[in-house]
Symmetry: C2
């Protein structure tokens, strides 16, 4: 099986490395609009070869590991591929990507979202075990041909992923709570400190809690503003729900309602019974 | 040197373990209002012996590792100790504790805050390396006698801590940004998900980012509502600053101002150049 990966950053590069550790794949080729990414990916052995976009089209499986708007754009340039080629996108949003899949690709296009990643990006961020033990959401639908779905399931399971099937709408709503809104919190937390008079003297005191909460604020602004854009309505809803919760806390502290505050905190701790 | 630890949870218990690994201390005794904590602490060898509060008063050094309101209360019961005993508090707030230190204790009382901890609590949460490589803030002032300050510095450095001196007001302001407000965000994030119709189906998708951001929402509600109470004004200020940042983000997404959003995110990423 010949695999082509479009986008050789953290997601695409790690896929290249993970696939090399399976017995499924004969050869992995890569493409990236950014020439220095291509050179770096080759140096780091993320893929076996760098090819042009026309050669990507000849692969048995094509992974799209690029920002979510670019996925929609790139699909339009894949309408002339063989019906035997499986196209798998790895983007963080699903509803718009599914809605905008060209009709001629629908039988062979697998909308997928591996719920894994780090705050780092670019080829140097890639590592072989990123997907291992992670969860991947596949937005299965009746239009997808069984041969393509089977192939995707096989690949994801061989790189160690736990597969969940979900409707694109449901995925985007859930992802807004579990991933997209929390990224906004982390960026806002980082900005809250950076806009203080002397952030350095504050950051000297940073312990594990602050480091953990601000970690994802290192993530790629281009990629994440793109995700907020595609999942705008769910994102706005999740942020509003969060704002209501935080304001409850602020008001309880302002009004010195300590017992109620403790109850509110106790309710929060129940999360970890099911997480 | 005989050390007494009041409060045998994560902070006090870890102090007991860390001190046993230094050559400074002959014997460590412990006291906790909670009898089962005492039994557990002894079983886990966090201290050499459990004593009553009157015996704690006879120690050379007394650590107060209890919620911040209890620190203020307990200091009132320490006014009859020898002037040669050093009292060190390990609470997360400093301004009120310093302001409410009984006059007779001021020469021998060291207000300290180790900027380290985990979301776990109770004796079983204690571990020997909690303090190793962490930062401790000491609120030095002219009233403290040199012998007591020297002793505290010696102890903290021997358990591997990096010492910063800071004014209590400055400490509480900084701590509100770096620790207290972020805890409120984590609790609010956890509540945002828990109040959804089916939190389990959302949490199935949780990756590392969400786990990191919701981790401190496991922390003790009693301890943390107490901290918010003692650092109320700084906390409210830090929450307000955060709310402004998050609302900026929400409005940019609502108004589809993607370039401005990217700039806002880019500003956030600069945090990690100095963290």
């Amino acid at each position: 099986m010949l695999v082509g990966i479009v986008g050789l950053g953290l997601i695409g590069g790690s896929m290249g490395l993970a696939l090399q550790n399976t017995k499924l794949i004969k050869k992995i080729v890569g493409f990236d609009n950014n020439v220095s990414h291509c050179e770096e990916a080759l140096e780091l052995n993320l893929v076996h070869e760098i090819v042009n976009f026309d050669d990507i089209k000849k692969c048995d499986v094509i992974f799209l590991a690029i920002p979510v708007d670019a996925i929609i754009e790139t699909m339009r340039n894949l309408t002339d591929i063989s019906s035997e080629t499986t196209v798998i996108d790895l983007g963080s949003t699903k509803e718009q990507i599914v809605a905008k899949t060209p009709q001629s690709l629908k039988k062979q296009f697998i909308p997928a979202h591996p719920m894994t990643g780090t705050e780092k990006f670019g080829p140097s961020a890639a590592f072989a075990t990123l997907y291992n033990s992670g969860v991947v959401v596949i937005c299965k639908n009746k239009e997808i041909e069984d041969i393509h779905l089977t192939r995707a399931i096989q690949i994801f399971s061989h790189i160690g992923m736990k597969i969940f099937f979900m409707d694109p709408k449901e995925h985007d709503k859930h992802a807004s709570y579990i991933s997209h809104m929390p990224h906004a919190l982390s960026y806002a937390l980082a900005n809250s400190v950076m806009r203080q008079e002397n952030p350095k003297s504050i950051l000297i005191l940073a312990g594990g809690g602050f480091r953990d909460m601000s970690r994802v604020a290192k993530s790629s602004p281009v990629m994440w503003s793109n995700i907020f854009k595609q999942n705008r309505e769910n994102f706005l809803e999740a942020v509003k729900i969060f704002q209501i919760e935080l304001e409850k806390c602020r008001v309880m502290v302002e009004n010195e309602q300590w017992e109620q505050l403790e109850e509110w905190m106790k309710n929060a701790t129940t999360l970890h019974k099911i997480l």
